[in-house]
Each structure stands twice: as C-alpha cells, then as structure tokens.
Amino acid sequence: MAATPTREVARRVFAQEFNDASYTFKESDDERAPVYVLLPTGERANRVFLVGTLTETEDVGEDSEYWQGRVVDPNGDTFFMYAGQYQPDAASMLRELEPPAYVAVVGKPRTYETDEGEVNVSVRPESISQVDEATRDRWVVETAERTLDRMQAFEDAEGGEMDEYVQMATEQYDLPVENYRRAAVGALESLEDQQRESAPTEQ
C-alpha cells in the first residue's frame, strides 16, 4: 500500500493563545515538510479549526484581491485571516459574507515578521462556512476542553518526563500558561451568561 501522508489534525485554540504562537518549525529538512506553529501550551499545530463572529472583511490587496477577515472569539480576541487568488473559495466567502456572522474556519497557521520585528500570527483559510450559534457554542466548550487538556499535560510535565513540545514551549516562550486557563474560563463564562439570558425566566 502506498504511504498516504496522514492528514494533520485541526487544533482547537482560542485567539489569545493562537496569536502568541509565534515560533514556527519543521520536523524534517524536506522542503515540502509541513510547517508547525508551536502553541505556548506545548502542542504543535499545522492546522486549526475555529468558530467565531466574523466582524469585518476588507480587500487589502493592491494589484489583485486579497481579503482580510477578522473573526472574534468570546473573549473579544481576534483571529486574522487572509485569502487571495490561491484560496478562491475562502476569498469569495469573505467577499460575499455580511458581518456580523458566525463562521467556521479551517485553515493553516501562518506567521510573518513586521518591520518592527514583531511576529504576527494569522490563518490562511482552506474553507470558510457560515454556521449557527449552536455550532459556535460547541466549539467554545470543545476548545476550552482541549486547552485545559494541554495545560494539564504542560503542568504534569514540569518536574517529570517532559513531552517534546512542552519542552520546546518552555524553551521558546516566556509566557505563563495560566493566561490560557483564564481565556478558557472567560470564554465559558460568556457562554453561560448568554445561555442564561436566552433561557426562559422561571415564574
């Protein structure tokens, strides 16, 4: 049987942690080897799946269309995405969608360094689809769970035998992972508030 390259899993991460994931690496010297960003909680990500509120779209291209989309998570943190001629489906979604709208995005993390030497992290979307609130809510709870799992593994590793990517995160970043637990709590709290508001009041 021919060796089919295994498809990369789509990580779940809130925008705050994603935007902090400025360190990228490859697992091999092969030119076509996948590029990973290193999540500060100690996991590699070559693909992400996110659901949030599309708040703004703008064609920032000079010669040809190049669409920027801003997708906000429940903490108010923003995922930035860029789609041009090589992502025609995603670009046409950004052209056509009317913000605000809930969208689900599958995409690849990309980083670039600004003139000031700061590293910006964004998403190059493979697909964008408009979804409902139920899907958004499920993503929030799922992403909180995955974030907490990574945190737990990160903290368990300290002192004990260290996972490769946890080790890498402690070397590359000086970021307290506690921030990401707070992001998970914040996202869940905002979901609860929203559920309470929409629930029928008892007599």
């Binding site: 498809r7 789509a10 409902d132």
Partner: protein, 310 residues
Amino acid sequence: MTDLHTPATEIHEQFDDQLDLSVDEIEERLETLVNEYKVPLSEARRSVVNTYLDEAGMERDQLSGGGGNEEVDIADIDAPEEWVDVTGKVVELWDATADAVAQVGLIGDETGTIKFTKWSKSDLPELEEGTVYSLRNVVTDEYQGRFSIKLNRTTTIEELDEDLEVGDDAVEVEGALVDIQSGSGLIKRCPEEDCTRVLQNGRCNEHGEVEGEFDLRIKGVLDDGEEVTEVIFNEEATEELTGISLAEGKEMAMDALDTTVVADEMRQKVLGRYYKVTGPTLGRYVLANEQERLDGPVDAEAMLIKARSI
C-alpha cells in the same frame, strides 16, 4: 504426518474429570480414523469425542473448553499470538493470492468480524460461506494494527447446525466536518456488472469509456482536535446530511451544465458543523450507517467547574 498428540491431549483434558482415559489410547483411536480410514481430523475428533460422551453419559455442551483455550468474542481479539477458540459464521471468502493459503476470508460473530487465513499445508476441511463453525485452537495475528486469526494444523473445525447474526463492529466518531474531498457530490459510476468504480472524466479504470450512472456521495473528514477520521456517506446518508436528493443533484448540475456545483452546495451546508457518525470501518474509512448533527445545547457549566478547579 498429522500431529494427533495435541488433539488427543485436548480430548483427554475434556474428559479428565469423567473418564479414566490415557492420552495414548485417545491418540490410537484418532490414528485409526485418520490414518487408516482417511477421515479428516475434525471429523475423527468429533467421532472420538462422541464415543466418550456416550461412555460418560454426557451431553456435548457439558464439555469444558478443552485445550485450555478461552472461547473469545471476535471483537475482543486485541493481541497477537494468542491461542483462542472462536465460533463464527463465514461472511465472505476471498481469492487466495498465494499458494500457501488454502482459504482466506472474513468470519464474524455477534460482536464483529475478523479476517481468517487457512494454510494449505494444514490440510483442513473446506469452509463454506454462510456456515457457522466452531474453530478450536486458532492463533491471533496482527498486521498494521488490524487483527486476524490463523487456522493451523492443530485447529479443529466443527460445522454447527445453527445461524448467528453477525455484528457489524461499528465504530462511533464525533467531530467537526473539516473537509469534503474530491470525488464527492454528484459522481458517475461504471455501469458494468459488479464494477461500480467511480469514473474519472467519463472513463472507468477497468472498462474504459462508459456511459456512467449518477450517484451521490460525500468523502468527508471528521476532526475532533485530537484525531481525524475519513468518512464515506452513501447516497442515502448524503441526502440526509445535505437535504439534496439524487434527483435534485442532477437537476442542479443540469441547470449549471456542471456537476461540481452539487459538491459546492454541499460544502456550504455541512462544512464546519459537528456530527456523530456510526458505521463499520473499511480500510481507513468509516462507512456512515447513521449520522446525527450535533446541534443541541452544550454543557458549559461542567467545563467551567473543571477550568476553575485547575
């Protein structure tokens, strides 16, 4: 020369509590049947066991497992190189690709199915599709994470006069549908008998240019953030998932003079949503028998308690 000592020892163990027998005496009986009368070992074994059953005044189902093997459910086979007994129905026989293999196929019980291989040199009776057998002394094996059983020269095969419902060893996967792969939507299949290959530009790999028959399917990817699973939805499942029937799909393609509009429309309806899919696995795919959109309320509170407790 067939080894008769092993089955003789097993029979000896089975009657150990009831009859005062020696292994040699059992072996001798087997030898007469097998070597003199050319009876297959399984039949010889059956005959000898029956003789002793009569002698002891026992019923067949009072017999202990024999040989010390455990009778296992097929779904519970999860380690290689274990000697086990299984009872199952031959679901499918495949063409043996090597001379060393007498028969190869799929055998199943209520819990699931497993591949079996019967070696030519083991000199065992022919198994038939749709028949239930009790197989004693088979060895489990593993290849790339998939288990199988091997019938060998010490295996005894007993045909049972009963039927059983073979379980479909369905798996359940949950996740977000993150991709719809090429070859999804409105497709054309080869109309040749037993072919059903999907046509590429009107051509079948086997039969060349043919007048294809339309079908609907989705090859999708479910991703839960930890693992990815490729899922195939057939026509019925695709319609349930997308609300687009084969007739509607054909109409859409006709209006647009393009079949790809069907997959595009499907993408908009299902990508990014969460689903739970149940079905058997085929290679790396799960074949969707049942699918459910996960759009009910989620329990934020339980997760919040967990998040605060860390």
